[in-house]
Amino acid sequence: MTRRKRRLVLIASALAALGLALGLVLLALRDNIVFFYGPSELAQKTLHEGQRLRIGGLVKQGSLVREGESTMRFAVTDTKQEVEVTYSGVLPDLFREGQGVVAEGTLGKDKIFHADSILAKHDERYMPREVADALKKQGLWREGAEAASIGK
């Protein structure tokens, strides 16, 4: 095999691998990314049915209701709009009323958000960044509630 032919094989295999990767990435980006909305944004968006998304905001004071064994219902608010959320499972340690939360799931026809995972992460000083941004937009951001760095 000549040097030139060898190089061609190399380049062709490199391009094939890159092409495959690019194809996979594009495919994955089309279907597997999850958008994040605050309650106000959510009210304006039209979503196709079953679209997965994340919503975030503050858990409304006094809105947490337990329905049955481990199902609960609460409202997520950005103080202008709010969304009803239902969730079955164990809530994270840092889930509190009045604190920031991010929920992932789908919005039902009844405008109730069916969450299958709830994120409230790491630290009481840590606010999910989407929530922090949404609160900043509303002018509700308190300095000092800044995220704590985690030594990971």
Binding site: M1, R3, R6, V9, L10, S13, A14, A17, L18, L20, A21, L24, V25, L27, A28, L29, D31, N32, I33, V34, F35, F36, Y37, R54, E69, S70, S88, G89, V90, L91, P92, D93, L94, E104, H122, D123, E124, R129, E130, A132, D133, K136, E146, A147, A148, S149, I150, G151, K152
Partner: protein
């Protein structure tokens, strides 16, 4: 007082780093041996000073000196001693100091152990290492001073984030940094080789042990971090494709590729340009990781924009070092002569394919990690790219790698025979297929798990085919085999174990498909079945730790009526930060684990529990240990020794191998 001297030591270290940035390079250009000879002692002194500063900061933490901002924000007098020591790197400033400590540790190691290297190469390596050290020391002193004082010292500190008060944190960051920052040595070698224009097999020989050391630490560090997340976050997951995790995975992928291609460069003088490129890339990805984790860009693109000093500073370091090295690379790479020829089907060809797949894997992780940040910065749309993305991109690229791995081990250099190799792998293929069939018949369950388990067993068996042939091939007796074990180079064992470790990890990953999960609320005395076990939740017992109070949910695990283990999942309350943290109760039964975390303890003793049965899950981390063990075996090989050339020269008479 010791705090001020620590601060002063850092300033001195910066001055020394600046000296070492210039004099050795100047010496190598002017061919002045005296100037080049400056580099090693200065590197050692630099390490001494940074180590002193580090000890000073640790002392301040240990004695709870609350006149230091850093101590106030991250410590508490009631915190156990071990967490006072490990808490030093549990925060931004201390962790950057550890970063620089590891950086100067590696420089000192080169100064001590690489005496056999050509003097100009060593001088330039240490100079490049000093550039990086100078940049990061400047970063610490200007934006993240760990020694900043408070005018009025409070009586008590804010305590360390409870999630970080864990033995896992004691081991994870230093190991990760040894790997992450250890790659700076390969970067310095590449840059020095480009500067002096000497890129040959000797370069590859010197770079290999350092890459291997970094790779071993990185492997262990990532595994440790994953186990820590597994048992502290209480979600039962071990890998979240979180940007912080990806930041350590990317350098690992690049380092793995580098490890394999230095083999080609050393043995065959081929792939020189590519080796240099990967050396630069691996550390560049470490820098990108440092930027992601330390700049605050992950918390919020906007927070980054509103307090830009730290982020922009690291970004600047990033641009200068990555841009500069690639510019140098572009200037010099054209002049490199390609080395040995090889056919596509050969050991070299297989290693090229390995590199292609690893670097494309790395690229997909890179895109998945940075695309959301870029999109948010440009359009303001927020998205999250999680497991589904990576399952669809990373996994399909990694599977061919598993299939090809045993082939690569068996193919000879230069030109190989694919059919012949496939024939020798029949045993491995057979083992994998039979395992698959048995699993499908006996366990059933998700097809993906069955197939991946088969692949895992094939990798495991395939890893040892070559070794088996070399040890047990032909006419054998016990004495012949034991002689062969002694004569065979250790790196042959190392390769086999490292590859087998990957198979073990894959088996652990595949088995997650057979796991079971239950989220229920439990009354005291209630029983629940999970997998093959039956759990009896006995009661909630309050307890007290040194700086927390806890509620422990005693639970007994039984199988077929007999008690096999007791677990004590707990929720802990840390008053200093007013924070809760759950401590999962884990029982390792065989290679599987029963995992239970509790929350929402009600007054009548009812808890909400999350219970998992995770068969073979411990194999995920055991596999990483096996990989690292393989790496250590290779490292102990004669040809991998850092100072091998020197020793060979000294010891003309064959001497017994010194133990290491």
């Amino acid at each position: 007082m010791i705090v001020e001297t620590g601060h002063y030591a850092l300033v001195l270290a910066l001055a020394l780093a600046l000296v070492n940035s210039i004099l050795p390079v100047w010496g190598s250009i002017a061919r002045d041996r005296r100037l080049m000879a400056v580099a090693p002692p200065v590197a050692l002194m630099g390490f001494g000073l940074v180590a002193y500063a580090y000890v000073a900061l640790t002392t301040a933490h240990v004695v709870s000196d609350f006149s230091l901002v850093n101590v106030v924000e991250n410590s508490h007098s009631a915190k156990p001693l071990i967490y006072k020591i490990t808490g030093v790197w549990g925060n931004h400033e201390g962790s950057m100091l550890l970063w620089v400590l590891v950086l100067s540790l590696f420089a000192a190691a080169v100064a001590l152990f690489s005496r056999s290297m050509p003097q100009d190469l060593r001088a330039n390596v240490l100079a490049v290492q000093s550039w990086i050290a100078a940049a990061f020391l400047l970063f610490i002193l200007l934006t993240s001073n760990p020694f900043a004082r408070l005018a009025e010292a409070p009586a008590e500190g804010n305590d360390l984030n409870p999630l970080l008060q864990d033995p896992g944190l004691a081991i994870h960051p230093p190991l990760l940094y040894l790997g992450y920052v250890g790659l700076s040595i390969t970067y310095s070698f590449a840059a020095a080789a480009l500067i002096s224009g000497r890129i040959d097999a000797v370069f590859a020989r010197f770079v290999r042990p350092w890459t291997l050391i970094a790779w071993i630490s990185l492997t262990l560090g990532i595994a440790m971090g994953s186990y820590w997340a597994y048992y502290t976050l209480g979600w039962g997951g071990f890998w979240f494709w979180d940007p912080v995790e990806n930041a350590s995975l990317m350098p690992w992928l690049a380092a793995t590729a580098l490890l394999h291609c230095t083999a080609v460069m050393e043995k065959r003088e081929a792939l020189k340009i590519w080796t240099i490129f990967l050396s630069i890339l691996a550390f560049s990805l470490s820098l990108v990781g440092t930027f992601l984790v330390r700049s605050g860009v992950l918390t919020s693109v906007h927070a980054f924009a509103s307090d830009p000093t730290r982020g922009v500073f690291i970004l600047l370091i990033l641009v200068i070092f990555i841009g500069g090295s690639f510019a140098l690379f572009a200037l010099r790479a054209g002049g490199l002569k390609q080395g040995g020829l090889f056919a596509p089907v050969s050991r070299e060809g297989a290693l090229v394919l390995n590199n292609l797949l690893l670097t494309t894997c790395c690229a997909t992780v890179f895109i998945g990690t940075l695309y959301p940040l870029a999109l948010e910065a440009v359009t303001g749309e927020k998205i999250s790219v999680g497991a589904p993305f990576f399952n669809l991109t990373f996994v399909p690229l990694f599977i061919p790698l598993f299939i090809l791995m045993p082939f690569g081990q068996l193919l000879p250099w230069k030109r190989g025979d694919l059919a012949g190799v496939a024939q020798r792998l029949t045993v491995a293929f057979g083992a994998g297929l039979i395992f698959m069939a048995l699993l499908a018949a006996w366990r059933g369950g998700p097809a993906v798990s069955v197939i991946l388990s088969g692949v895992a067993l094939y990798v495991l068996a395939g890893s040892f085919v070559d070794l088996g042939r070399r040890l047990f091939g032909g006419d054998i007796s016990a004495s012949i085999v034991s002689q062969r074990v002694r004569c065979l180079p250790r790196h042959a064992f190392g390769t086999a174990f490292a590859h087998a470790g990957l198979g073990v990890t894959l088996l652990g990953l595949a088995a997650t498909g057979w796991g079971a999960e239950k989220i229920i609320s439990l009354k005291p005395g209630e029983r629940v079945e999970i997998g093959p076990y039956e759990l009896t939740f006995e009661s909630v017992v309050p307890g007290n730790g040194p700086n927390y109070s806890e509620l422990v949910g005693r639970t007994v695990i039984g199988a077929k009526g007999a008690v096999v283990a007791t677990i004590e999942p707990a929720t802990r309350f840390y008053p200093a930060r007013g924070m809760n943290r759950s401590e999962a109760g884990i029982a390792t039964l065989g290679f599987g684990q029963v995992y239970m975390s509790i929350a929402d303890v009600a007054a009548n003793g009812v808890v909400n529990a999350r219970i998992f049965w995770k068969p073979l899950v411990s194999l995920i981390w055991i596999g990483a240990l096996v990989m690292a063990f393989g790496g250590c075996l290779s490292l102990s090989d004669r040809s991998f020794r850092v100072g091998i050339a020197r020793r060979a020269r000294k010891a003309q008479v064959p001497s017994p191998q010194p133990a290491e």
